[in-house]
């Protein structure tokens, strides 16, 4: 008891711990307070408003392309929403394409074919050692803006046109009676997925064949087919791009900005994903491969049943960070004039000022996107990791 009291308070670890935390918290809060105080006094001096009310005013600037109807009379908030949708759109497409290309290049890198493997290395090294921004400029100014004019468009079979104004693709659109088909299509996909998951579980649990592949394939084809006939046999029509005046009308148009951004982003990320995939596959124990061969699995079975499930555990965590990088890198669209979230933020600052509010908003959205993506993928990751016993 006596010795306890002998410890002076500046040597008492419990007090020191609390003191250190209080001091650091006070320092940080004081620093932030000082900065905010500066900002508010400067804002008062210059008569800058700090509220978010401006979001309801009309934006007044046009946007190139938009997934939902937009015109300059809409509010800033709506413009931000459009930008957000475009960021999500380009990131989602980029992630899908980057994964496909990345896995292919990663496998090619491990190919027994010398030439293929060297080409894959060349692709990877070319993309990993050049800044993304330079690559984006190369795609945008060096490729997509150098394409032929509208009159001399490159034409591919299937009525696909490529010119300075971008890529024009035919696109299926719903007829008036097409609703039934659409519902049937969604229903078919959902049921097929459900059947696949449930029947596969039954197969794994009981060991009896449940033909989950065949059944879900049948569901996937039959239900939409039924919808097709119910809707009178003509639920869709092709919207075909056609030259009218100085530009193409109809179909789907990928602007050069969008195309350059998408191509630049997904090829760049694919190079990184390829390395991730290669490392993951090489991390699979050789004995596993030999055992699989000994059991008599063919090459496809070997990859899909033995290698990939184990490689995924190594691949997923770095893959998550690549996906996040791609989403964040989509903000580079600002440099080539594709009006996603960041570009709209910058345009708003140019037009209406309010840099602080706009940046808070834009950064918060990116942060939320990042945290959300990593949360979802971390949950998935936790599910497939080994359970250590």
């Amino acid at each position: 008891m006596l010795r306890q009291q002998d410890i002076p308070f500046w040597r008492d670890e419990r007090i020191l711990r609390i003191a250190a935390q209080v001091i650091s918290a006070v320092l940080v809060v004081a620093f932030l307070w000082w900065m905010v105080d500066n900002m508010i006094s400067a804002a008062n001096q210059r008569g800058i408003s700090l509220g978010f009310r401006f979001l309801r005013e009309s934006a007044g600037f046009p946007l190139g392309e938009s997934p939902i109807p937009y015109d300059p009379s809409r509010s800033f908030a709506y413009a931000f929403y459009v930008g957000f949708l475009k960021t999500v759109q380009v990131s989602a497409l980029g992630i899908i394409l980057a994964t496909i290309v990345g896995v292919i290049v990663g496998l090619a890198r491990l190919s027994s074919n010398w030439l293929i493997s060297k080409l894959a290395i060349a692709f990877i090294e070319a993309h990993r050692n050049i800044p993304l921004l330079v690559l984006l400029f190369l795609w945008y100014r060096g490729v997509f803006l150098k394409l032929p004019r509208v009159r001399d468009s490159l034409t591919w079979p299937g009525q696909i046109y490529l010119n300075q104004r971008g890529l024009f693709l035919p696109w299926p659109r719903l007829n008036e009676s097409g609703q039934i088909f659409l519902i049937a299509l969604i229903l078919g996909i959902v049921l097929a997925a459900a059947a696949w998951i449930i029947l596969k579980r039954v197969r794994v649990a009981t060991g009896k064949p449940t033909y989950f592949g065949a059944i879900s394939l049948a569901l996937l084809i039959l239900i939409p087919a039924a919808g097709w006939f119910l809707s009178g046999g003509e639920p869709l029509h092709w919207d075909i791009p056609a030259l009218s005046g100085f530009n193409f009308v109809g179909g789907v148009n990928l602007t050069p900005e969008f195309a350059a951004l998408l191509v630049g982003l997904f090829t760049y990320t694919a190079a990184f994903i390829a390395e991730v995939v290669r490392a993951g596959i090489q991390a699979v124990n050789r004995g596993q491969l030999e055992a699989a061969r000994a059991v008599g699995l063919n090459y496809y079975q070997l990859l899909s049943l033995v290698v990939f499930p184990q490689a995924l555990r190594v691949i997923i965590p770095p893959l998550i960070s690549q996906y996040l990088n791609l989403t964040k890198n989509s903000s580079l669209a600002f440099f080539i004039g594709f009006s996603e979230l960041f570009y709209i933020g910058k345009t708003t600052i140019n037009q209406a000022g309010r840099a602080i509010q706009v940046f808070l908003l834009v950064m918060a959205v990116y942060l939320a996107l990042s945290l959300l993506t990593s949360l979802i993928l971390n949950l998935y990751n936790r599910r497939i990791q080994f359970v250590e016993r």
Partner: protein, 468 residues
């Protein structure tokens, strides 16, 4: 009896080793092992031939390389006043000497770097004389630098300098070059003491620490003396040069004029060097047992890592001035550098945290058993082991930071890429030559990043990371 049987056996049954695979065997094994491999080989060969021949034809006959060839100095230093180039020269001479002296250190990684640097100097010396060509003085100076590298190498071999000392010398050179490049505004008053006294002090300090270094027995004292001498002479040089009549010779050069590779290097090297201490502190904070500290550090790291770099750069250049008192003005380049540092610090913290986690718990327990307190455990036991393990990831981070400096183009900093774009925009006759300029810039980045990642592989092998 036995001997004869063995003899006959060796005569008859000896199996000759297989013939070493010839080129045909190699082709069959690696390119045409089965039908789909053969198909793949043929298709990719065709595509490769078409692509390479097309690119070569374009590069040799169609491409117009004038915007690249005619402006070497713009790409190197931007619009830095041409009559003030000697300041960069001073930094270059110091760097050349140190590069030569460092060649034997750090797992011979420096060999790759130094040889590249020498090759870079040689290429510049032989740059085609067209447009705003390099003057003969500059060419001779560059050649002399190659000789200085050689001199530095010899000196390094003779003197057997400690690598810690070299590191300090590099930092000193970096700081001195920055001070020189920036210059001093003449309006500032001379220091209170007369410049002669300052110079005398400086000389005495340098000399005495040099002598002390020669005679001191204890390695720690030696190190302390040297570090002290560097810090003091750096601060004194700043003070002395201000007061000197020389200050007029090093009049301020606005950072608006800095550009090109100079700024790219400044942002990336400055970013990584200055973010290192912050990153280490953040990493220690994130692993700290104090919840408040841990949370503050975690929030900073995760927020910075969750937003794009371009956003942080814009925050640093547009928003930061709003949060500072109105009489504090930070120039544009420095604001971009601050953005790079904050960004890099968060990633640095995560790298260092990985290294900290790799230090076995037994080390901490052993140190505690010896009676070291927490601070000493961290500084003497944990950090040295953790930092050695994180050198390769830090090199990787440096490469990506080096590439990311291009984003500073968005906040009107004239780094390499924006110099290229400005050259294109500023000259009407270069209209439509984007491909040439962009490919040139891409090539520079490619060569430098590739060499650095190659060097980092060698470094990893030399440090034996992952083999312990």
């Amino acid at each position: 009896m036995a001997t004869t049987t063995t003899a006959t056996k060796t005569e008859q049954d000896i199996v000759m080793p297989p013939e070493p695979p010839g080129p045909v065997m190699w082709l069959r094994k690696n390119l045409f092992s089965n039908w789909y491999n053969s198909l793949l080989t043929i298709i990719s060969l065709t595509v490769l031939y078409l692509a390479v021949s097309g690119v070569l034809r374009w590069a040799i006959s169609q491409a117009d390389w004038r915007p690249v060839v005619n402006h070497p100095l713009l790409y190197l230093v931007g619009q830095y006043p041409r009559d003030q180039l000697w300041r960069i020269g001073v930094g270059l001479v110091l760097a050349s000497f140190l590069a030569g002296a460092s060649m034997r250190y750090w797992g011979r990684v420096m060999q790759v770097v130094v040889l590249t640097y020498a090759a870079f100097l040689a290429v510049l010396t032989a740059w085609p004389p067209a447009g705003q060509a390099l003057t003969n003085e500059i060419r001779i100076f560059l050649l002399v630098n190659i000789a200085i590298i050689g001199a530095g190498y010899l000196a390094g071999r003779q003197l057997r300098i400690r690598s810690g000392l070299l590191l300090a010398a590099w930092l000193f050179t970096l700081a001195l070059t920055l001070v020189l490049l920036r210059g001093f505004s003449g309006s500032r008053a001379a220091p209170t003491l007369s410049t002669q006294i300052w110079t005398g002090l400086l000389l005495i300090l340098v000399l005495s620490s040099g002598i002390g270094h020669l005679f001191a027995r204890n390695a720690r004292i030696k190190r302390g003396l040297l570090l002290g001498a560097f810090l003091f002479s750096l601060s004194l040089i700043v003070v002395v040069l201000r007061g000197f009549p020389l200050a007029r010779a090093v009049s301020p050069v606005s950072t608006q004029l800095w550009g090109g590779l100079l700024v790219t290097m400044l942002l990336s090297v400055g970013g990584i060097v200055l973010s290192f201490p912050i990153g280490v502190l953040l990493a220690l904070g994130r692993r700290s047992g104090l919840p408040v500290v841990r949370w503050l550090c975690t929030i900073f790291i995760e927020v910075v890592r969750g937003v794009p770099l371009i956003g942080i750069l814009f925050m640093a250049s547009l928003i930061l001035p709003l949060f500072l008192p109105t009489d504090i003005r930070i120039d544009r380049l420095l604001r971009a550098l601050i953005g790079m540092i904050l960004f890099s610090a968060a990633y640095m913290a995560e790298n260092v945290r990985g290294g900290l986690a790799a230090v076995p718990q037994g080390q901490v327990e052993a140190a505690n058993a010896l009676g070291l307190n927490n601070l000493k455990v961290t500084i003497l036991i944990i950090l040295p082991q953790a930092l050695r393990a994180v050198i390769p990831p830090i090199v990787g981070q440096f490469i990506s930071l080096f590439k990311d400096t291009t984003l500073a183009a968005g906040v009107a900093v004239l780094e390499l890429l924006s110099v290229g774009l400005a050259v294109l925009q500023g000259t009407p006759e270069y209209f439509g030559l984007q491909m040439e300029v962009l490919l040139f810039i891409a090539a520079i980045f490619w060569i430098l990043s590739y060499l650095m990642s190659y060097a980092s592989l060698r470094l990893e092998a030399a440090l034996g990371v992952g083999e312990r």
